[in-house]
C-alpha cells in the first residue's frame, strides 16, 4: 500500500518546494499584495464616503439656493412696499409744505395789504390835516364874522375834500 506509507524522498522535496515557495512569496509578493489590496479598499471606502458627502452637500446647496431665492423675493417685495410708502410720504410732505408756503404767501400779502392800507390812511390823514389847515387859513383870511358861517364853511370844504378823494 504505497499510498499510505509516505515516501521519504517525496516528503523531503515537498518540504523543499514549499519552503522555497513560501520564502519567495512571503518576502516579495504577499505583503505587497495585501497592503495594496487594503489600500485600495480604503481608497474605495473613502471615495464612497466622499461621494455621499458631496451628494448631501449638493442637496443642501439646492435647498440653500431655494431659500436664498425666497429671501430675495421677500426682500424685493419689502423694498417695493417701502418705496411705495416713501413715495406716498414724499407726496404727502410736498403737499403739506406747499400748503404752508401758500399760506405764508397769502399771509404776507395780507400783511402788506394792511400796511398799505395803514400807510394810505396815514397819508390820508396827513392830507386831510393839511387840507384842514389850508381851509383854516382860508377861513381866517376871509374874516368870517360868525361861528355859523365858519361852520358852514368848514363843512363845505370838508365835502369838497371828500368828493375830491
Amino acid at each position: 500500500m504505497e499510498l499510505f506509507t509516505p515516501e521519504f524522498g517525496l516528503v523531503f522535496w515537498m518540504f523543499v518546494a514549499f519552503a522555497c515557495l513560501y520564502g519567495i512569496l512571503a518576502k516579495f509578493a504577499w505583503p505587497f499584495i495585501i497592503k495594496s489590496m487594503e489600500q485600495r479598499a480604503d481608497l474605495i471606502d473613502k471615495g464612497v464616503a466622499y461621494a455621499q458627502e458631496a451628494k448631501a452637500q449638493l442637496d443642501n446647496a439646492k435647498a440653500e439656493a431655494d431659500q436664498l431665492v425666497a429671501e430675495a423675493r421677500q426682500q424685493q417685495a419689502d423694498i417695493l412696499r417701502d418705496a411705495a410708502k416713501v413715495r406716498n410720504q414724499i407726496i404727502e410732505n410736498a403737499r403739506g409744505e406747499a400748503a404752508v408756503e401758500a399760506k405764508k404767501v397769502s399771509d404776507a400779502a395780507l400783511v402788506s395789504i394792511e400796511q398799505a392800507r395803514k400807510e394810505s390812511e396815514k397819508q390820508l390823514r396827513q392830507e386831510v390835516s393839511e387840507i384842514a389847515l389850508q381851509i383854516a387859513e382860508k377861513v381866517l383870511r376871509r374874516n368870517v364874522s360868525n361861528d355859523e358861517a365858519q361852520q358852514e364853511l368848514v363843512d363845505m370844504y370838508l365835502k369838497e375834500v371828500e368828493t375830491k378823494n
Binding site: V11, W30, I33
Partner: protein, 354 residues
C-alpha cells in the same frame, strides 16, 4: 459560427473517444485481461519518469538521486525504467519495495537506498510551485505597475480569490495578527489549490496525484503543526497542561492534559487525512468509472462495453466537475482550519464570561 465550433469540438471529442477505445482494445489484446487494482494504484501512485500525453510507453526521463551503501548516485530514470539495472540499481517488481528503486546487492538481495529521486510527483510539486509563484507574482506586478486600478481578466480572478481567502477568512479570524500569518496561509491555500487542480488534468504537466498522496499532505500538516505550536502563547500551553477544569480532572491523574496533548496531534492529523482522503477518493472514483468500460468489455463484449462507455463518461464528467469543486473546498478547508488552529494557539489570558 458558435454551432459550427461546438460541432467540431464534439466531433473531435468523439473521435478521440473512439481512438482511445480502439487503442485500449488493442492494448487489451496484447496484455490479457485488465487488472483494475494494478491500474488504479499505478495511476494514483508515484513513478520514475513522466508519461507524455496519450502514450503509455514513452516517458520523460527524470533524475534519480539515491544514496545507497556505496554512496551517492545520480542518473536519469530512463536507464532503469525498462527493467535494466544501472550502477547496481533497479526498479523492484513485487516484494516489499514494488515499483521503487532498490540497490541490488552482490548476493542478489534488494535494499532500499535513501531515495531523493525527482519522481513524477516531485516534478509535479515543482511545476505546481512554479505556477503558484507565477500567479501570485502576476497579481503583485499588476499592483506594482497599475497602482490602485482594479485588475482585469485572470489577475482579477486571482485577486478575487486572494481577497476571499484573506479579507473574508483570515482577517476576521486572526484579527490584528492577520498580516503576519497571511503569507503562510495564502501560500498553503494556493499551493494546495494548484496541486488539486493539476491532479485533475490527466496529461503532462498535470496528472500527478499530489494531494491524494499522504506524503504531501503530511508535510503540509507537519508544517502547520509546527506553526501552531511554535508560535503558541503561554496561555495556550497553560490551557494544555493546566486547563481550567476541576482539580480532580487534572491533579492525581492528568486526564484533561492528556486529552489536550492528544488534541495537539489530532488537529494536524485530521487536516492531513481530510485532504488526502478527499482528493484520493475523487481520483479513485474517476478511475473506477473509467475501468468499468474495460471490465465490462472483457466480460460481455464490445457492444456492452460501448454502452458502458457512454454512461461511464457521463459520470466521469460529473465526478471531475465535482472534484473541481472539491479541489477548491479542500484547499479552503485546509486553510481555514489552519487559520483557526493558529489563532487558537494565540489565546490571551481569559476574560471572565468567555
Amino acid at each position: 459560427m458558435k454551432k459550427v465550433i461546438t460541432a467540431i469540438i464534439t466531433l473531435v471529442i468523439v473521435a478521440l473517444m473512439v481512438f482511445g477505445y480502439w487503442r485500449a482494445a488493442q492494448h487489451h489484446h496484447q496484455s490479457g485481461p485488465v487488472n483494475p487494482k494494478e491500474i488504479i494504484y499505478e495511476h494514483l501512485g508515484d513513478a520514475y519518469g513522466w508519461e507524455i500525453p496519450f502514450s503509455h510507453d514513452v516517458r520523460i526521463p527524470l533524475p534519480i538521486i539515491v544514496k545507497g551503501t556505496d554512496g551517492w548516485h545520480c542518473f536519469l530514470s530512463s536507464s532503469i525504467t525498462d527493467g535494466q539495472t544501472y550502477e547496481g540499481y533497479a526498479i523492484a517488481h513485487g516484494g516489499d519495495h514494488n515499483g521503487k528503486v532498490v540497490q541490488v546487492l552482490a548476493d542478489g538481495s534488494q535494499v532500499r537506498p535513501w531515495d531523493f529521486s525527482v519522481t513524477k510527483n516531485v516534478a509535479a510539486i515543482f511545476v505546481a510551485a512554479l505556477i503558484v509563484a507565477l500567479m501570485v507574482f502576476s497579481v503583485r506586478n499588476w499592483y506594482k505597475k497599475h497602482g490602485m486600478k482594479a485588475p482585469r481578466k485572470g489577475t482579477a480572478l486571482l485577486e478575487l480569490i486572494v481577497d476571499y481567502v484573506y479579507t473574508d477568512t483570515i482577517r476576521p479570524i486572526m484579527g490584528k495578527e492577520a498580516p503576519k500569518y497571511a503569507p503562510y496561509l495564502l501560500t498553503v491555500f494556493f499551493f494546495i489549490l494548484t496541486m488539486n487542480l493539476l491532479g485533475l488534468i490527466v496529461i503532462f504537466p498535470g496528472g500527478a496525484n499530489l494531494t491524494g498522496n499522504l506524503a504531501v499532505t503530511m508535510t503540509l500538516a507537519v508544517i502547520t503543526f509546527f506553526v501552531i505550536n511554535l508560535t503558541g502563547t503561554r496561555e495556550y500551553w497553560k490551557e494544555i497542561f493546566w486547563p481550567d477544569v476541576p482539580l480532580a480532572l487534572k491533579c492525581p491523574v492528568p486526564m484533561m492534559p492528556l486529552i489536550e496533548v492528544l488534541g495537539m496531534f489530532t488537529k494536524p492529523i485530521a487536516l492531513m487525512i481530510r485532504l488526502f482522503a478527499n482528493m484520493m477518493g475523487g481520483h479513485m472514483v474517476v478511475l473506477v468509472l473509467m475501468l468499468l468500460i474495460f471490465i465490462f468489455t472483457g466480460m460481455f463484449g464490445a457492444a456492452i462495453g460501448g454502452v458502458t462507455a457512454v454512461f461511464s463518461l457521463a459520470f466521469t464528467l460529473f465526478m471531475l466537475a465535482l472534484d473541481t469543486l472539491v479541489s477548491f473546498i479542500q484547499a479552503y478547508v485546509f486553510t481555514i482550519l489552519s487559520t483557526i488552529f493558529i489563532s487558537m494557539a494565540h489565546v490571551q489570558p481569559h476574560h471572565e464570561h468567555e
